[in-house]
Symmetry: C2
Subunit: 208 residues, 2 copies
DNA sequence: ACACTTATATACATACTCGTATCTGGATGC
DNA sequence: GCATCCAGATACGAGTATGTATATAAGTGT
């Protein structure tokens, strides 16, 4: 095991990253307000000194966490959108992606809700969150218009339909959190499937 | 202003209620973890002594808050279900009810999310929350089956359809929180309307 | 009106949290 | 190999939170 010797910059970056990771875990377990700076530093394997060397305060770390997460999710959505060629493709990719996330659903969702609440109380963080939502929504809307709308009339404004599909995800995941056994891991995809089918004009059903 | 002289029991109950109300406000504003026992007592117009005389600790108060809220929401859902005679009725009642809640949507929703997170981290509180969800879902399912299903085939298992409608509420409200201007106050009802219309078999459209 | 009960306030001990200021040892450059 | 630098540890002070133990004032029964 030839462990590379880190430069200062690298080492500093590593510390920062470890602190962020520790914060992610703790925020998930105990919430943002329930986690102290000391606990974060300790879980990352440092003391508070390291923390304050890297962040002005907890707020700043939360902001960075939100930014990181937004970035990675925006990337995921873009990727999904880019790779889906057919309508069936999209559902398949979505299913696959959901399966992976389902492994750590409580963690993923708890952190999401924490961040939503944080944004509610710190409006300056709102645009960051909004970015992800808007992209996802518009991406869904495009898909709806292209895959379904072109075959006939939609049952409502495509913007509303997209909003429905997008919002459904949060709602279903919350329900799945509350009833892990009762609700299948694939609900989200199944539900989207049902919706899109029911909106597809009966007229021309392409062979797929 | 003839202020009635309270008996001990009444006075005690009043204190308890005031503490709960203060906690509700503070939890909404700053979260459960962000509110100290002292702040709660102070906002209610007491000191910590009164608090610890009425509750063992904050956890116990949260439990009671959750219970109160569950009770009142279960009552509301039951009421809605009981009063809605026709399908149009239900949408109308729902619209009215949503309008009222929309006045304090951020507060209402923030507290709901706080409680969901609390239940996630304190599984013993989970059944309490689950109660409300189940009732709402089954109530929706009944409505779907009666108002729509009897006229023909549904596009999917009514349980799934009900779950979709129910889950949609949380999801849409979260989106509305994040985009208060962009998303109309009536989204929830509008969305439900769209869904139910799109699921209604085209065959026989009763005059209503 | 008296004793007694109890809801709430006050006082106290303990622990936690934050942010800063200072120290130190290993990395870096000459 | 010596001087410098800086990431992170340690030490500190002020503030805050929790829970308990005790005091007090108001309510209650006789």
């Amino acid at each position: 095991m030839a462990r590379k010797r880190l430069t200062r910059e690298e080492s500093r970056a590593q510390t920062r990253e470890r602190l962020l990771e520790a914060a992610r875990e703790l925020f998930t377990e105990r919430g943002v307000n329930g986690s102290s700076v000391e606990q974060i530093a300790e879980r990352a394997g440092y003391t508070r000194g390291a923390f304050y060397g890297n962040f002005a305060d907890k707020q700043e770390l939360v902001a960075e966490l939100l930014e990181q997460r937004t970035r990675s999710e925006v990337a995921e959505v873009s990727d999904l959108q880019r790779r889906a060629e057919s309508f069936g493709d999209m559902l398949e990719l979505l299913r696959h992606w959901n399966r992976e996330r389902d492994q750590n659903l409580p963690d993923w969702m708890a952190l999401r809700l924490e961040l939503v609440l944080h944004a509610l109380r710190n409006p300056e963080a709102l645009p960051m969150l909004a970015q992800r939502e808007k992209l996802a929504r518009s991406s869904i809307q495009t898909a709806i218009e292209q895959r379904i709308g072109e075959h006939g009339a939609l049952p409502a404004d495509p913007a509303l339909l997209a909003l429905i599909v997008h919002a459904l995800e949060d709602g279903l995941l919350i329900q799945r959190l509350l009833f892990p056994d009762e609700i299948a891991g694939d609900v989200v995809v199944d539900a989207v499937d049902v919706l899109l089918r029911s909106w597809r004009p009966v007229a021309s059903d392409p062979p797929d």
